[in-house]
């Protein structure tokens, strides 16, 4: 199904065209087209193994696509290394919490600020004393409600706080595009509600690609939803359309066949 073109004149922030990826013959991404505009939350949902994380990995550059193109704010980034994409304004969070657990909370985020501002070939001056880094880090921590926890060891926080730290780290690189890989994964009800608030507050300044299994969160946040099954977009449109789409219903009821792409989602 073609993507709904609401305002095609505005150049999309992220544009994926004809993307293909397979692992040992198992198709994880199948001629996928997808865009994320500024100020929009585009959610990608689908059963386990549908290729959602594989998609994020290709956009962020950890995986190289077999075919197709990815562009970020008009730049072709298909063959660019992850750190290059990051410098162009792309940031991601990880499905499995991926923080620097032996660093303090503040240092985790300050490191991300450091990656974006100036270079890191400074060998002498103590980084912990650089107020520009710390101020930027605190600002990001404030946006996710962790400003009070800066001095704590990141390894000793609760799961929900880890997820919030993940978002703060993504924000610290000052990105225009955010890829959020199951930010609510493993969260309790209260934590999820809090995370929905945090993400909603980010919509104004960012284009967000959201992967999430928590359907309450998806329908509360998304401007558009794409449904992925075996790497193929079987539906794409505003939440109300998706909610009533029969094919989507079938995919979630399990008629779409066995879960073949299991390894692709890890």
């Amino acid at each position: 199904m073609p993507e709904t073109q609401i305002d095609s004149k505005i150049e999309p922030l992220i544009a994926v065209r004809g993307l293909c990826k397979s692992f040992d013959g198992i198709i994880a991404t199948d001629h996928l087209d997808l865009t994320v505009r500024r100020g929009e939350i585009h959610a990608v949902i689908g059963p386990n193994g549908a290729g959602k994380t594989t998609l994020i990995n290709q956009i962020s550059g950890i995986l190289r696509a077999d075919a197709g193109t990815i562009s970020l704010a008009g730049h072709d980034i298909t063959a660019m290394a992850p750190h290059g994409r990051s410098r162009l304004g792309l940031a991601r969070s990880f499905q499995i919490t991926s923080i620097f657990s032996d660093f303090s909370v503040l240092e985790n985020v300050a490191l991300c600020v450091q990656a974006q501002r100036g270079h890191s070939y400074r060998f002498w001056r103590p980084a912990a004393a650089e107020s520009a880094l710390n101020a930027g880090a605190l600002e990001a921590l404030e946006r996710v409600g962790l400003a009070q926890r800066g001095g704590d060891n990141a390894g000793h926080m609760s799961h929900g706080e880890h997820r919030q730290l993940e978002i703060a780290m993504a924000l610290a690189t000052n990105p225009s595009a955010l890829l959020l890989d199951e930010p609510m994964a493993g969260m309790g009800r209260q934590e999820s509600i809090r995370m929905v608030e945090i993400i909603r507050a980010l919509r104004a300044d960012h284009g967000i690609l959201l992967i999430e299994h928590d359907m309450d969160a998806v329908f509360a946040l998304a401007d558009r939803i794409t449904v992925l099954v075996h790497g193929r977009a079987i539906a794409s449109g505003p939440p109300d359309e998706i909610r009533t789409d029969r094919e989507v219903e079938r995919a979630y009821l399990g008629d779409a066949g066995p879960d073949r792409g299991g390894q692709a989602d890890g």
Partner: protein, 318 residues
């Protein structure tokens, strides 16, 4: 890295400062009691400590387990020995040559090694060190595997006379303190923060925007150059250099020193090198088969002493 000391003088800082003070006052004491032998042990200890400090920079803080670090010691030593063989004794040439050659070797081999991870990294650093070992064995001009005698120690335009044991001793001590200070500054800097984060989570570091390969390579070069300095000092101290200095068992000993003392702690490698050499001395004076005791003892210390000696000291503060 935040270091919190709950009591003003913890056991850890007492041991560290006490140890450095002991090093500082050893020469007059050794002369007073006419025991120059202890001076020799201390000099060897400090040279190896500098090498261990350099290894700790990449292993302890960067997670790069190099099994070929002795190659840099050998290169540093030959950078003193080969010029001396041709009659060039100036330390102002030898020392920069030692650090430069070791750094260059680190740059070339590191560019390949750092493409790999884990066990492959360990094996390929070992392979390069063995190549350097056999290269020097095969050069007959510089003695092959018989080695080379350095008849004249490095000269510093009359500023210090290394033929005086105490002068050489204090030069090595200053180099050790300088190395510790250098590593301390690097680790706390922006660069050091990147290095520490690549150890913690390299994939995430790349996602943040760091070209981690380059940072790790630069760190590897700094470490190699510093180890080259250790080799140059060791060559001056022993007055005899041979390919045995870069034997793979030497590289293994350096890893042991770092892990024993506490990988990723600033003074850990110094504690490790000191403990290693003292144990070696004491045990070998007891029995000829001292290695039968030494080996298992080291394994036990590494297995049960999490965080090494430094970790133990840290856990003991009030």
């Amino acid at each position: 890295m935040t270091m919190s000391l709950r009591s003003p003088v913890s056991l850890r800082s007492a041991v560290t400062l006490g140890g450095l003070a002991a090093f500082a006052i050893l020469p007059p004491l050794a002369e007073l009691f006419d025991q120059p032998y202890y001076l020799d042990i201390a000099m060897r200890m400090m040279c190896l400590a500098i090498a261990a400090v350099s290894l700790n920079l990449i292993l302890g803080f960067g997670g790069m387990v190099s099994f070929g670090h002795a190659a840099f010691i050998g290169i540093g030593a030959y950078a003193v020995g080969i010029p001396a063989y041709y009659g060039e004794y100036s330390g102002f040439i030898q020392i920069p040559l030692a650090m430069g050659a070791a750094g260059l070797f680190a740059l070339i081999t590191g560019a390949v090694c750092l493409r790999t991870r884990g066990v492959y990294f360990i094996m390929i650093t070992l392979a390069f060190a063995q190549m350097a070992f056999f290269a020097l064995v095969s050069i007959e001009e510089y003695g092959g595997d018989d080695g080379l005698i350095i008849e004249t120690r490095s000269e510093f335009a009359g500023l210090i006379d290394l033929e005086q044991p105490a002068s050489l001793y204090y030069l090595i001590l200053v180099a050790l303190i300088g190395s510790l200070y250098l590593v301390r500054r690097i680790v706390a800097s922006r660069f050091g923060r990147v290095i520490r984060c690549t150890k913690s989570n390299d994939e995430r570091a790349q996602a943040i925007g760091f070209d981690t390969y380059r940072y790790r390579l630069i760190c590897y070069v700094i470490s190699g150059a510093l180890c080259g300095l250790a080799g140059a000092l060791l060559g001056n101290f022993t007055g005899f250099i041979s390919p045995d200095m870069m034997d793979w068992t030497r590289s293994g000993e350096l890893i042991f020193m770092v892990v024993l003392g506490g990988a990723g702690s600033l003074f850990g490698p110094v504690l490790g090198a000191a403990t290693f050499l003292i144990l070696e001395e004491v045990l070998s004076s007891w029995t000829l088969h001292w290695q039968v005791i030494f080996g298992p003892l080291l394994i036990l210390m590494v297995l049960y002493g999490r965080g090494g000696i430094d970790g133990f000291l840290r856990s003991r503060h009030a």
